[in-house]
């Protein structure tokens, strides 16, 4: 589909989809399905309860807290307080790569381990605090970790185990181990999103700011909302290093407790995944005076753009020159690969239903491949992720969100230090830098594209039927469902065990992987050849029961 080509109007599709639903459901789902008109401010209903029984992509708060945010940190013991399953399923399934780096092969790395209190019925009946304490003690005795995070699962909240009290007690008892809890029961909120918020809160409360050691570098940043899936963070780190930019801490790909503790010493927060980590950016700005800026390292051009934004922020000519040098060195290779890949990808159609940022970011890569995103939506995004932060004031806080703690942050009396003047920030903003802002996905999508929040299986089937897309992006649960329809699916949580896809090298990887998927022979051979021949031939096609 060339850029000039208009997307088809999916109104009938939407109608057909809704027709199947009971009326109340139809009314609700209608608000989460928006036919994009870039000229209009359209509301995309999101971050609302999933309708029971509709078959959703979504997971739970625990998954967002433990799985997403804390999972990638290597030197904390993440102890899940609950029945075994919650910890089991989050064990190594997110491809958070980690490199003990300078600490060498014997550096602390608990990511390959799974810790649980494995609650039994007696713990449910009589309470599990005692077992939790004992488990913390045992973990400490065996591993001597710097930190232990305790994660509440559904029954814990119900039976009233106080993980925070237990954590405080054990922290005190152990002395040299930072023990803190997360009330991230699965039933909280409406998706993983609540878990991100809870994780942000507790990291901020118990860890950030614990170490005031001043950084040595000149351009000190934190990268927020980058989880080093498939090595994305490694690639971005590589580029930062080439540019002379120092990363104090990444939240939380390839992270350590030490880095979190020092993260408030940075001069700038760069936000990748707005959804999962904007809380942290805001809290750090309020408490320590660190400005934040939305960036995107997904896509060759986006990466270049993000680097230039940093250059602009620091207003340092040497840095800017270095950045241009790096871009000049790297981007042409990326563009060359894109040009080559486009021979097979140009005009193809993509769909993305995933995450809280990826459905937006990855449209960049498809654009670079000459592909059109005909439909997209988030699994756990909020309205600001679709419509931009400008709608934040208008978002009604419902019962589910109200239950998620909102930390009251004030400027740190001693450590607050505004890194940039209001004026400077405003100037940057005027230049188009998303300072303390995020414009959302909607504005980057074409007219007539279909935005669907928290897509259901039924909608997925109908969309595929209607658009017959060339590629579908979602997660493992959707992968084989979509592929069984003859459409290749690219996992954008796990990257189908490929990656990195961020940065310059990542873009090249992605181009190649998409090109590969679109060139895979088997998709042309799905049908048994004897079914393709004439049905009148008596020898074939007839159904035969053995």
């Amino acid at each position: 589909m060339s850029e000039e080509m208009k997307l088809p109007d999916p109104s009938t599709l939407k109608d057909e989809i809704l027709a199947k639903y009971p009326p109340k459901i139809a009314r609700k789902r209608a608000k989460s399905m928006v036919i994009n008109d870039t000229k209009l401010d359209q509301e995309v209903q999101s971050n609302v309860r999933t309708i029971p029984g509709i078959i959703t992509q979504r997971g739970c708060t625990y998954a967002g807290c433990k799985g997403v945010v804390l999972g990638p940190t290597r030197d904390i013991i993440n102890l899940v307080h609950g029945p075994i399953g919650c910890s089991f399923y989050a064990w190594l399934t997110r491809r958070n790569q980690t490199d003990p780096g300078p600490e060498g092969p014997d550096g602390e790395n608990f990511i390959n381990y799974c810790f649980s209190t494995d609650m039994q019925d007696e713990n449910i009946v009589f309470g599990g605090e005692k077992k939790l304490k004992q488990a913390i003690q045992e973990a400490y005795d065996i591993f001597k970790p710097k930190a232990i995070g305790v994660f509440s699962t559904c029954p814990v909240g119900l039976i009233g185990d106080d993980v925070h009290a237990v954590s405080r007690e054990m922290k005190e008892k152990l002395g040299d181990c930072n023990v803190f809890g997360f009330s991230c029961e699965g039933y909280k909120g409406v998706s993983q999103s609540a878990g991100h918020h809870i994780a942000n809160n507790q990291l901020f409360r118990h860890v950030v700011g614990n170490d005031d050691t001043k950084p040595e570098g000149k351009f000190n940043i934190n990268l927020l909302g980058e989880y080093n899936i498939g090595g994305d963070g490694f690639e971005i780190d590589r580029i930062f290093k080439a540019c002379g930019i120092d990363v104090i801490c990444t939240f939380s790909g390839n992270s350590t407790m030490g880095a979190f503790e020092k993260s408030h010493t940075a001069d700038l927060n760069l936000v990748m995944c707005h959804r999962s980590i904007n809380y942290m950016a805001e809290m750090m700005e309020t408490k320590f005076g660190i400005p934040w800026m939305k960036v995107n390292f997904i896509g060759g051009d986006s990466t270049a753009k993000a680097l230039r934004k940093i250059g602009e922020y620091f207003e340092d000519e040497a840095l800017q020159a270095k950045i241009e040098e790096v871009i000049a060195e790297e981007l042409p290779k990326v563009e060359a690969r894109a040009a080559e890949a486009r021979k097979r990808t140009e005009g193809k159609m993509a769909m993305l239903f995933v995450g809280g940022s990826r459905a937006h970011h990855y449209q960049e890569l498809f654009k670079e491949l000459g592909m059109e995103t005909v439909s997209a939506g988030y699994e756990f995004g909020h309205r600001d992720d679709y419509e931009g932060r400008k709608v934040l004031p208008t978002i009604k806080v419902d019962a589910d969100s109200r239950n998620i703690e909102e930390l009251k942050i004030e400027a740190d009396p001693e450590r607050f230090n505004p890194r940039a003047s209001e004026i400077k920030l405003e100037t940057l903003q005027e230049k188009g830098l998303e300072v303390s802002d995020y414009k959302g996905m909607k504005s980057d999508m074409s007219d007539n594209s279909l935005i669907v929040d928290d897509i259901t299986h039924w909608e997925t089937e109908k969309l595929i039927e209607f658009y017959k897309p060339d590629i579908f992006c979602a997660g493992i649960k959707e992968k084989y469902v979509v592929q069984k329809s003859g459409i290749p699916l690219k996992q954008l949580h796990s990257y189908d065990y490929g990656g990195p896809y961020a940065g310059f090298e990542g873009a090249v990887n992605f181009y190649t992987d998409i090109e590969t998927m679109l060139s895979t022979t088997i998709w042309k051979k799905l049908k048994a050849p004897w079914l393709a021949t004439s049905a009148t031939d008596p020898c074939i096609c007839a159904e035969y029961v053995a």
Partner: protein, 460 residues
């Protein structure tokens, strides 16, 4: 070292499980429900449970795993999940048109005390279950037992919800296959067909989670035991329950409800367990064992006798589920291998008793542990203290295998980094040859790779 923090020195743990050798009930219930044709499993709890269970089953089978969730919120957790479930039932029948919805609970709904029986009754009374459709259910509190328990509970739920009794005896044998792969279920059906034994088998996930790629997604694939077949199981002459953990309860229910007598057997893994299964089926179905089985069995025996030199005395560490580990241990003993460390996260006293009984003569020093804290961390520590020649277990075993340089055979659930298990059975005599091929391959690959150049062998 991937597991660099695992110390050789073993300290007793009473509260902390590290690297579990089990997961929780609902995933087993979901898997069992997939073995009924036209059935949509439903997870009554938070979305996360359903998402996790679908994910792990999808990764294991590389195939669609569809299921609904009651999508509990904090509100439902306070006021109970009845409204969510009622709505879910309506929505699922309306949108996805299953023949059956199979509901399992979660730790959440169990803790708040949702009464599935009552809710399902109400849904039926309220006309939310369309004519000719069924809603079945079982309780699967995650804090009791393990994934195996959940499978067993859904098997019982299937009996409870679908088995009937007409009073007219049917000349057929029920087979409850236990938690085995679709390939295994297919093989059990082949064995029965070859014996001309009339059977009803459920659950049966063959042609469900190993469904063909034809360019068309089928929400309800061709496979699965039909409602009619399951209904008829109340009229059968006997039930063979394979796997004490997975199948006993359902068999007992068929007995108590419909007077169908039962026999609990090991899953037919390896020579001796397959022998017992074949004989039991022959007796129960009153059919002779065909001559072809002498040949099938003889081929397995042949490989064992030919390859004995590579197996004799080799120490093996195992982890997984009791129903698999027991016949597998017996098979290893038949091969003169030495089961050395055995761990199952699934509780049940009989497990260690049975393993110790099996190993009494040939491997009296076997380390065996199951239930809470019987985890792969423990297994790894045992291995550090007494190294083994082979490790068998699910995908998570590969971290130990790599760290310790142990040949590794993937066996059990989940296997998420290789294919094959859903297509090639490990039950039956031919399944025994497959296990042998895998074990020998793993052992010999290491020999080939690490032998001194002087000692690399062409022939083996």
């Amino acid at each position: 070292m991937l597991l660099r923090h695992t110390p050789k020195e073993i300290t007793e743990r009473k509260a902390l499980t590290i690297n579990p050798a089990k997961t929780c009930q609902p995933v087993g219930a979901m898997y069992a429900a997939l073995g009924v044709h036209g059935c949509l499993p439903h997870s009554h709890g938070s979305q996360g449970c359903c998402s996790y269970h679908r994910s792990v089953l999808t990764r294991h089978y590389k195939d669609p795993v569809m299921a609904g969730t009651s999508s509990f919120t904090e509100g439902s957790s306070v006021f109970g999940g009845q409204a969510n479930l009622m709505q879910a039932i309506t929505n699922m029948f309306t949108i996805y048109d299953p023949d059956i919805i199979a509901i399992h609970s979660t730790c959440l709904s169990e803790t708040i005390g949702d009464d599935l029986n009552q809710i399902v009754d109400k849904a039926t009374t309220d006309g939310k279950v369309p004519e000719g459709k069924n809603v079945i259910f079982c309780n699967t509190p995650s804090y009791v037992g393990s994934h195996v328990t959940g499978f067993a509970n859904m098997c019982t739920g299937i009996v409870k919800g679908l088995a009937k009794h007409t009073g007219v005896a049917k000349d057929q044998v029920n087979i409850l296959p236990g938690w085995v792969e679709p390939s295994d279920m297919r093989e059990i059906k082949r064995i029965a067909a070859e014996m001309a034994a009339q059977i009803v088998m459920y659950p049966d996930t063959s042609d469900v989670v190993d469904s063909p790629q034809t360019g068309k997604f089928e929400m309800y694939p061709a496979g699965g035991a039909t409602v009619e077949d399951i209904a008829s199981s109340g009229d059968s002459i006997k039930t063979l329950a394979l796997g004490a953990w997975a199948s006993t309860d359902a068999a007992k229910l068929l007995d108590s409800k419909f007077k169908v007598p039962f026999e609990v057997l090991d899953i037919p893994v390896g020579l001796s367990a397959t022998d017992r299964f074949v004989e039991a089926l022959s007796n129960a179905a009153k059919v002779p064992v065909p001559a072809s089985f002498v040949a099938e069995r003889g081929r397995l025996v042949d490989v064992v006798s030919d390859m004995s030199q590579y197996l004799y005395g080799k120490k093996v560490a195992l982890f997984g589920d009791p129903d698999q580990l027991i016949p597998l241990t017996e098979f290893l003993l038949d091969l003169d291998m030495v089961p050395t460390h055995i761990v199952s996260g699934t509780p049940g006293k009989k497990f260690t008793e049975k393993i110790k009984e099996l190993c009494a003569e040939k491997a009296p020093n076997v380390n065996v542990m199951n239930g809470a804290q019987a985890d792969i961390f423990q297994l790894h520590q045992w291995i550090k203290n007494e190294p083994v020649d082979l490790l068998m277990g699910n995908t998570y075993g590969k971290y130990i295998a790599r760290d310790e340089g142990i040949p590794f055979v993937r066996y059990g659930f989940p296997i998420i980094d290789r294919i094959g298990h859903s297509y090639f059975p490990t039950v039956g005599y031919t399944g025994g040859i497959r296990l042998l091929e895998k074990m020998l391959g793993a052992i010999m690959d290491k020999m080939d790779a690490t032998a001194d150049e002087t000692k690399v062998e062409l022939v083996m």
